[in-house]
């Protein structure tokens, strides 16, 4: 994509392990948001990190943002089978643009 990328495209881990997803973008941003999407459902907002923040936590989620590298990462600690879903980052300047997502499979 000319706008940015997420990697890996797919990730398979064992329950209890940590999962890390990365997002890169190409424009200046006001904030970056992470969303989760279960199969056949809409996106659900997980966390928003502003451009002047470097790290944010929410429960088992940890998000980092490096505006100098135009990149962000989402860490899910102690994963559960219920975390199986697609995860999307969205970066926002005047509109929210989404990456292509990471499909996470957590094996029981």
């Amino acid at each position: 994509s000319q706008q940015g990328e997420e990697d890996p495209q797919a990730l398979s881990i064992q329950e209890g392990e940590n999962a890390t997803m990365n997002c890169s973008y190409k424009t200046s941003i006001n904030n970056l948001q992470w969303y989760r999407q279960n199969s056949g459902r809409g996106l659900v907002h997980l966390i928003l990190i502003r451009s002047n923040e470097r790290e944010k936590h929410s429960g088992r989620l940890r998000v980092t943002l490096d505006t100098s590298k135009k990149s962000s990462s989402l860490l899910i600690t102690a994963s559960r089978a219920a975390d199986t879903a697609s995860y999307f980052c969205g970066w926002s300047s005047y509109k929210l643009i989404f990456g292509s997502g990471t499909r996470l499979l957590v094996r029981p």
């Binding site: 948001q33 809409g42 996106l43 928003l48 969205g90 005047y94 509109k95």
Partner: protein, 116 residues
């Protein structure tokens, strides 16, 4: 609070036929979005409304797509005529604060369109 409601959930039509999708946003959310999501991809913005006004429709294929948001609440997205390449999931979202810059989006479950 009730979430964003979309209907229908699924729609199968033949190419060249018209189709319409309906969205009811969360009460009090002034900003409404229509996104299109192709299989295995992230959502792409088609149009954004602030109340009744379409403030960003740069990605809407205006030759065949149209949208309206009467009274600044419900919205309808229409395709006429549909093409095979329009097969996708059409997602509606709303947010409470004007513009996407600092407000999370709340998504409906989408309408899956199949054009045969």
């Amino acid at each position: 609070e009730a979430g964003v409601v979309q209907s229908p959930r699924y729609k199968i039509i033949e190419k060249k036929q018209p189709v319409a999708f309906w969205c009811n946003p969360i009460s009090g959310h002034n900003t409404l979005y229509w996104y299109r999501q192709n299989l295995g991809q992230g959502p792409e913005l088609l149009i954004r409304y602030e109340n009744e006004e379409a403030v960003d429709d740069s990605q809407l294929p205006k030759d065949r797509f149209s949208a309206e948001r009467l009274k600044g609440v419900d919205s309808t997205l229409k395709i006429q005529p549909a093409e095979l390449g329009d097969s996708a999931v059409y997602l509606c979202a709303s947010s409470v604060i004007q513009g996407p810059s600092n407000s999370p989006l709340h998504f409906g479950n989408g309408t899956r369109l199949t054009v045969t």
